[in-house]
Symmetry: C2
């Protein structure tokens, strides 16, 4: 061992992430990254490799976080499964308003920019979507057991619809759609799960965990 790093790896990684979230891959220059991190080129390259490696690392970490977040948010007993889905939708709404989060979801942004020309990125995005879908489907099965969702409905189909609605909220939120409109989508999505009969259990159970885009 010799001279140690003068910076905190995770702090710098967060600064890099903030920059990529704001300006994507192509529009982020190395000088953006040196400014955002306060490091020189040499340090940045020494610690994280080139721009592409930095980006892939950031994107993978983001996808993992997105998944960890839904895992934590949807975890719980059958009786509050629907309430947790509703709370998750509320979180998506809150995080998708352009006012609060002008740059939108990094997963969506990166898929839009790179999926067509980078199979690795596309695959990671697809894996993440499928993982989200799976978690949602599990919660729907729980809610079916609890009597909040029609037990004869196909949970996989409902889960995909719910996920699509969430991605739609994100997609349109970036353009400046109001929180009221986005919230209406979230409410309607939950309504689509419960059907005309409505839920058996209360949706307003306190099941919020934490927020993340």
């Amino acid at each position: 061992m010799a001279r140690p790093r003068e910076f905190d790896q995770t702090e710098v990684a967060q600064a890099i992430r903030r920059q990529f979230v704001a300006t994507g891959f192509a529009s982020t220059s190395i000088s953006h990254l040196t400014m955002a991190t306060g490091l020189g080129k040499g340090s940045l390259y020494g610690a994280f490799g080139d721009k592409e490696q930095m980006f892939r690392r950031t994107f993978n970490a983001y996808c993992e976080e997105v998944f960890d977040d839904i895992l934590e948010q949807l975890d719980g007993p059958d009786e509050t499964a629907l309430a947790r889905l509703s709370a998750y939708a509320d979180i998506i709404v809150a995080d998708s308003s352009a006012e609060k989060n002008p740059h939108g979801c990094f997963l969506a942004k990166t898929t839009a920019e790179l999926a067509a020309i980078d199979p690795e990125i596309a695959q990671r995005a697809l894996d993440t979507f499928r993982a989200l879908d799976e978690q949602i489907a599990e919660s729907i099965v729980q809610a079916q057991r609890a009597g909040d969702i029609d037990a004869t409905a196909d949970p996989r189909s409902l889960a995909l619809l719910f996920l699509a609605a969430m991605r739609g909220i994100e997609s349109m939120g970036k353009s400046g759609m109001t929180t009221e409109e986005l919230q209406s989508i979230a409410t309607a999505a939950i309504g689509a799960l419960t059907g005309a009969s409505g839920p058996r259990h209360n949706l307003s159970d306190r099941v919020w965990k934490r927020r993340r885009l």
Copy 2:
């Protein structure tokens, strides 16, 4: 008048559009455009202005087309309103598969890249989303009159949910989600409109008009 242009404006505009759809704004270089169009820099600048003007013109034309398409697709009598919505969803599915259309919807791509830093782009995107929503809502009202959708449901809320599901299909299609999965979303979205009772009229009425992303 003197020497006339040697190229067809609309053909060249289409070539420009193909390039922007493929590589977005930042990642499209002028040399990309000269290659795509076969024109020299001078001609391109003379006829269309600089890169930013070319892009804005292309984006605006695209938004208009998206709206014209839904207008044409959803036009018709009450009895087939739901079938037309279903056909529209099928078109979105077909156009959103990465296999057929790797670059995705230009509206989504541009919103993801630029809405956060360009209010004019954001506003145009928002206007387009709202216009789509309005047309969908109108068709839903028609379907309610025809007895295919519960007349007590709020058409605005249902329309936003439907639109969000469509944008979700587009968003996830780019990552390579299968046509079957995307189609399942479309079917579930129509199901969410009709509710548990199902539609009164047949969904398979021949109401397809033309295709567009």
